[in-house]
Subunit: 220 residues, 2 copies
Amino acid sequence: MKLAIKRKQLSDQVSELTTNRLSVYLRCLNALDAADVKTVSSQTLAQQFHLNAAQIRKDLAYFGEFGVRGVGYYVKDLKRHLRQILGLERRLKVAILGAGNLGLALSDYPGFRQEGFQIVALFDALSTKVGQQSRGGVPIFDITELRKIAAREKIAIAVIAVPADAAQHVVDQVVAAGIKAILNFSPGTLRAPADVKLKSVDLTVSLESLSFYLAHEEEE
Amino acid sequence: MKLAIKRKQLSDQVSELTTNRLSVYLRCLNALDAADVKTVSSQTLAQQFHLNAAQIRKDLAYFGEFGVRGVGYYVKDLKRHLRQILGLERRLKVAILGAGNLGLALSDYPGFRQEGFQIVALFDALSTKVGQQSRGGVPIFDITELRKIAAREKIAIAVIAVPADAAQHVVDQVVAAGIKAILNFSPGTLRAPADVKLKSVDLTVSLESLSFYLAHEEEE
DNA sequence: TTTTGTGAACTAGTTCACAGCT
DNA sequence: AGCTGTGAACTAGTTCACAAAA
């Protein structure tokens, strides 16, 4: 009951910081479960990654009361709940846009294949690539077929791995194909409608932030 | 004078959020400069990506007074300042650890090569890979040679692109080789000493955050 | 006794709003 | 007139600290 009421406004109430941590907790629980640990406290969990125990409890409390006072959390139980919260109980299908170096590497990346994601298609505009497949066997389609294949395969997530100058155009096509979640690897700002979740991983920004650190640590 | 005083505690005072935005501003300024725009206001800059003009001014104000009241910022001028702030005036050398799909793709990624980064070496433990090179011509060395080559080439940044179970061991070797900045692509938490800057890009977390969004948007 | 779940206190980050310079 | 630089107000996120449950 309490759970159901909260559910309604979840994606507004829960910040991305929290959902990212949920993923991290889940990975930790997988490891604990594999090591046949039955129960874990927020304290123990917090020590693994340098986090605060209260934060873990607060993060989980958004979704229900999963813990047992005096005991902690049952590993298998919490793991199941987290998978459910993150929407991982169903296999989500992923398409990668851009069959260049990065796109091909991502399509065979084992981390993507784990935990319920299934990479079903690559798309490219280059006719020489269309019809080929990645080393791991993901077929490459022509980008013009995106709409058709996205609908047929029920593709839920698009990964953008095209050069910066093509990225916005590709995003527009992805949106037109009805895909509601995009993970973008191209540098620069992209526009997408409000009902489409666009998450960007900007490799250049990451490197430059390290460069900043190096430039300013030397001085102290 | 004011600038010099501030400099001392910069990396403590300035948050990562700010430095990440500086990268984004720089990219925008590059585009404006290429389009031969001479001057830009924080207002205009803010509209490009959906940001607040005051935030841009605050971000820049940490480092000095670069603007001209009534005019805005001189594009070339601010660009030069940002490059200097981010430590991009010198070319930083980068090594990639792990010559798998991801490592090879990253070593030829054009975004890395731009803006002052130079990928000089790949490292792997597999003897079949050692001696080969990436398509773009980055040579693959044995990981045992890391220390020697890092010193000789003055490698400043290490990129971790090895499987999760090898990641901590590789990080330890990178640290032992005296490298002070690490960009990690492997999933999971890694430990590094306080004087080493470790930045992680967790692809699984990114995808799971999209999954969360998809799972919870459907309900409204 | 142990550990959760959570209000209250605190800290960090963002936006407002305006004085002051050009 | 126009736009920066910045204190003050606000908002979001984290940590503390403790009552309540097992």
